[in-house]
Symmetry: C2
Subunit: 397 residues, 2 copies
């Protein structure tokens, strides 16, 4: 794919808000601002999330520093995710410059004093002064930079930062990294009335989280790239009381919180019809202490070699669940107390899948539902706020 | 070099203290002990320091567990360093077994309960039981294992664990990793009367530390492998009041402390005549706050690319030391307050060498002595307890 095409495709309107020639003042400064070192560092750490470091275009490895209309912004864009964040500071001269993200963040991190002065001259040299420390680094004009397009802010959904971060943590582990099934590399975000449902799947398992929103909204169903969700959950620091807004368009999702906006492309395509795969039938139902079970499965993984795909055998009888694994390293078995309803069952699992699900469940006790050794196993709560479907491994031996 | 030859060379007397056939009891157990999990883990972490993981002989990747004469020992040996540590525990059946260090340490780390039972059968299967958790892993007989030779314990030197650890930290950074100059990969340990002098050098710099010992000793001069010193300083946890013993033979150095002995080969050869390189003449003497100077040099390294070897220029005038560096990334300069005696000087350094030395000096203020931009620079205290010689970089431009 041609890179220019790709830019145009992502952000159809490249708004060059920064015609440099107009900004050059008598003393030919392109930019002249002062700010607090730690606030600058916080802002840099936010926009770094949209610097891939693997870009083939130098400009995409840059952070744009823009002082305009009385406001300082840092901006980054890797063509999948774009981030803008507002930086508190004093503007002596408006303007903008693009600076290599890596060296800029390393310099700011190591500066000696609280106050940082950033100025740029018309040779695109950026001067960084703090205390007695003076850096000059080569920078570049912002003309080529793919600024974030203006997004119509309709379809606003309000959610707490903490809740969004939790939902992502509890589902994102089961996206696929197979770029050939693009839809699987993202998560379904579906809103109906006041319920947000988030789904991820990778062919062996499905993770579903549902939350009630404060308001009621028109139906929305989009696929958000997993990478976007991983990066945004690193930036979100707010608690349960810190609200944020999410806007949806046909091609984009926009997250707005604190002084920051994160804009991401959506993944095109139809998501899987997961409702068909869910079932509330079961032959065996067990309740178990989550930590005991997790620690025990964790120990079974000690017997796994990368090259061997050995399942853990789970033998469920009254009051007892026995885990056993056998490999070229050796063998291991351990029992865990349970409460059981229904039939005994012997079933095999990839222990990694059980661990991933158990790790993100907050409850002390979990309930598992099984039908037979070849049918999906479900870990879910009564209210259906979380459902983890895991396919067993064939143990025909 | 043939591996068998190498073993014989290192440890001429392979004492197989463990003739397995004699140890097999009625129930054919090769070993049967119980111990506390955390004490076992501590002992494993000590002997792991002599497991290289890069060995061509499987037996060298093993830890020997030996219960003999009422004592439990863990033993490891990578043919350069050998370690024995005593483990508190109960012996039900004496015997010994060799177990792969990596998987054994991982299992013990993850065990659920405080009490661990270790038994081995005559198929060399090791059974690890803790709480409800049961592991079986394949192990091997100890017949092939290169046990540590008996070392004559003459030439005993007593030093505090803390002091030895500090001396190593303050010198080991300037050993060379060039295996073609084997002597440079070790450190000179020289004892004269009651003074221990430790020296390392790598062709660009020399580090010297001297300490006064509590007693007076016959002259000793040996070269200890840097790797031995790095590993032993990881094991030493004791404070200033915890004494340890060091024994010297023609080919070995033996460290004895707490319940552990560490035996290492010495490096053969003549060490460099460093006294000729030391001089107390100077034309410029400066005193500077160590932290200010260190932070400033640290910032200069931000301008260094791996591929470019750019020196930092140090311009010393009355009361002022200016650091400046110029590279393809950009340029940086910063001034630090100093007290100066003697001439002004402009001199270039590899900033890494200054940083390494400054980092290990505990004093708040340091004193540097220079003659001219081509002669070695010295950082040393009045008493000569530490001397860091650093060669400047040519700045003929």
């Amino acid at each position: 794919m041609d890179i220019t095409e790709s830019i145009n495709d992502t952000f159809p309107t490249i708004i060059n808000t920064n015609d440099i020639t107009n900004n050059i003042s008598e003393n030919t400064a392109l930019l002249n601002i002062t700010c607090n070192k730690n606030k600058l560092l916080d802002a840099i750490n936010i926009v770094l999330k949209a610097i891939s470091g693997k870009s083939t275009m130098d400009i995409l490895d840059c952070i744009v520093i823009e002082a305009k209309d009385g406001q300082i912004k840092l901006i980054s864009n890797d063509l999948e995710i774009g981030i803008e964040t507002i930086l508190e500071g004093e503007i002596i001269e408006e303007g903008s410059i693009a600076v290599k993200a890596k060296v800029f963040s390393e310099i700011i991190r190591k500066l000696p004093s609280d106050t940082v002065k950033l100025t740029a001259d018309d040779n695109y040299t950026l001067f960084i002064n703090a205390g007695k420390s003076k850096f000059n680094i080569a920078s570049r004009p912002t003309g080529e930079f793919p600024y974030l397009p203006d997004i119509e802010r309709n379809n606003k959904v309000v959610i707490s930062q903490f809740t969004l971060k939790e939902i992502i943590r509890q589902t994102v582990f089961s996206i696929s990294d197979n770029e050939n099934a693009k839809v699987m590399t993202g998560e379904l975000f579906e809103i109906h009335d006041s319920e947000l449902k988030v789904v991820s799947l990778d062919g062996h398992r499905i993770s579903i989280r549902k939350v009630q929103l404060a308001g009621s909204y028109p139906d929305i169903s989009v696929i958000v790239p997993g990478k976007t969700l991983i990066e945004i959950s690193k930036i979100l620091t707010g608690g349960l009381d810190n609200e944020m807004a999410i806007y949806f368009t046909d091609n984009h999702i926009l997250f707005e919180f604190d002084n920051t906006i994160v804009l991401s492309r959506l993944i095109e395509g139809e998501y899987y019809q997961i409702d068909k795969m869910l079932s509330s039938d079961y032959e065996t139902k067990i309740t178990v202490n989550k930590k005991n079970m997790l620690d025990c499965i964790d120990r079974t993984t000690l017997m796994i070699k990368e090259s061997e795909k050995k399942p853990v055998l789970v033998d469920i009888t009254d009051g007892n669940m026995k885990f056993a694994i056998n490999s070229s390293i050796g063998s291991m078995n351990e029992e865990v107390d349970i409460t059981k309803e229904g039939k005994d069952i012997l079933i095999g699992f990839n222990p990694r899948f059980l661990i991933d699900a158990l790790k993100v469940i907050d409850e002390e006790e979990i309930t598992m539902y099984m039908i037979n050794p070849k049918a999906p196993c479900f870990i879910r709560d009564k209210e259906g706020t979380y459902i983890y479907l895991i396919l067993p491994v064939n143990i025909n031996s």
